[in-house]
Symmetry: C2
Subunit: 154 residues, 2 copies
């Protein structure tokens, strides 16, 4: 997706980006890719992808949740969620329990193993997030997030 970039440290040379470099969208993409990459590396010891972590976090926050609800908040299509939950269930991290009044749906919850792994993964995630926050510098986090949310709502 992204290239090593500075092998020879002869970056930039004198190649212009044609105005792209001062574009919010372009920098946004670079930043997003960098964050994603860093988090991916931080989660590697736990064999979790970024999506896996977010799913685990949502289930932890609201146990008994159905797959559809998770897909809605995390913007994951239902078919894709099936595979994700399948894998987490196979690894014994997540349980598909019955929903009292609905025999179609599953009430998702973390197993003890899932909780244990998530606890460690959360620590790694916190370290990663701190790193990103530090890179923010003097910029106020809340105002930054508010601006990004407005962009996300375009």
């Amino acid at each position: 997706m992204i290239e090593a970039s500075g092998r020879k440290e002869v970056i930039d040379e004198q190649v212009s980006l044609g105005g792209l470099e001062s574009t919010v969208g372009f920098i946004l993409r670079l930043a997003q890719v960098a964050v994603f990459k860093d988090l991916l590396a931080a989660l590697k010891p736990f064999d979790l992808r970024v999506t896996d972590l977010s799913v685990l976090l949502v289930i932890e926050a609201t146990p008994g949740l159905q797959q559809r609800a998770i897909g809605e908040v995390l913007r994951i299509q239902r078919p894709n969620l099936v595979t994700i939950i399948d894998q987490l269930e196979t690894r014994g991290l997540v349980r598909r329990g019955p929903v009292p009044g609905d025999r179609r749906a599953y009430a998702l919850s973390l197993t003890p193993a899932g909780e244990a792994l998530l606890k460690k993964a959360k620590a790694a995630h916190a370290r990663h997030d701190r790193k990103v926050l530090d890179a923010l510098g003097d910029l106020d986090k809340d105002r930054m997030l508010a601006a990004l949310e407005r962009i996300a709502a375009l």
Copy 2:
């Protein structure tokens, strides 16, 4: 990639995101996806993808550029660039000329048709960028970009 989200306008319900919602990385992804989507729609009339536009912009800014150099600044792998240039060349927007001292490489430049299309696409891009900028609100653009660049350099 992203879901329609508010079909029923019963968003959020009372489902917690487990702390994810105040995470820079998560919001960053949402923002990036939204920007990408908006730009994609803005470029649709010209049958250009986001990557195509950035390639055209770079070529316009520095004509005679080689594929390798473009890949470097835009973070596109060389093999992927071949296909992109192939398509642009087939459409008569870009020309692969000879490089004076090197018969391996191509000197890329825009054809008149490429310049004409780019001019129109740039106008659409400018409108899109203005939209994103407006969403930024009170936040200073330069400080925002500087912060994002620091994140990108993680």
